[in-house]
Symmetry: C2
Subunit: 138 residues, 2 copies
């Protein structure tokens, strides 16, 4: 295969190109997905907990992103109640391995936007009375 | 100020929340912006060069993202011809400081998507005959 055929060949295996950056952005290149990963890192697990974050993600966007995160192998779910069945979400090893990405982004942002402040971890999954800084009561 | 007032206070200073991750994603949280940063790191400077990348960014999206990148202080422009005036783009120090973010994302992606391949740098800004792997001829 000639070098100039690489693009065409790889585009059949990947959606946009063979670039690792591109393929990562196809997984989490939007304004919401990494915020859900952040919330999971902070200890959130349940739908209402994600909804209660100060960025106020819309319910339909949250449902879409959780579905995509599971399809991409970054999270897994397990039921915590029946009738109606409800699920808790967990980072997989693949999802947890995004930690250096979050760290790099946070470091860059703190350098250039000095007014920003990290949220605290939460120790239990309650939908009200959370300890996270800046948490809404939703 | 009480802790539970932090969210409201900071939301007036920042668009969505005081979280550094959130504010970074407000700058580059999409499928295209970091690809333009990548192209700049690889040596691309001109509009047609960005358009020629294998991901085939649409012209209106490219124009929009370049405008936002300049407004955010990540790139600067300077004219390289008159009649019509055309510009070359350059990473500012703020833009260059995204390098660890790109590195972290690429490292994660290469671990989980082993078929991906890094593009090569280009040594000169020509709109045809580029040396970048996977480059289209557009």
């Amino acid at each position: 295969m000639r070098d100039d055929e690489v693009g065409a060949e790889v585009n059949s295996a990947f959606e946009r190109s063979c670039c690792p950056l591109t393929n990562a952005l196809d997984v989490f290149g939007d304004k919401w997905t990494l915020l859900i990963i952040r919330d999971l890192v902070l200890g959130k697990k349940r739908y209402q907990e994600f909804l209660s974050s100060p960025e106020k993600i819309a319910s339909n966007i949250l449902a879409d992103r959780l579905k995509k995160l599971e399809a991409s192998g970054l999270i897994s779910r397990r039921p915590y109640q029946q009738n109606p069945v409800r699920y808790e979400c967990f980072l997989t090893a693949k999802g947890e391995s995004l930690s250096p990405v979050l760290t790099a982004i946070i470091s860059w942002s703190q350098e250039h936007y000095p007014g920003t402040r990290l949220f605290s971890s939460i120790s239990q999954h309650e939908t009200t009375g959370m300890k996270q800084t800046g948490e809404s009561s939703g």
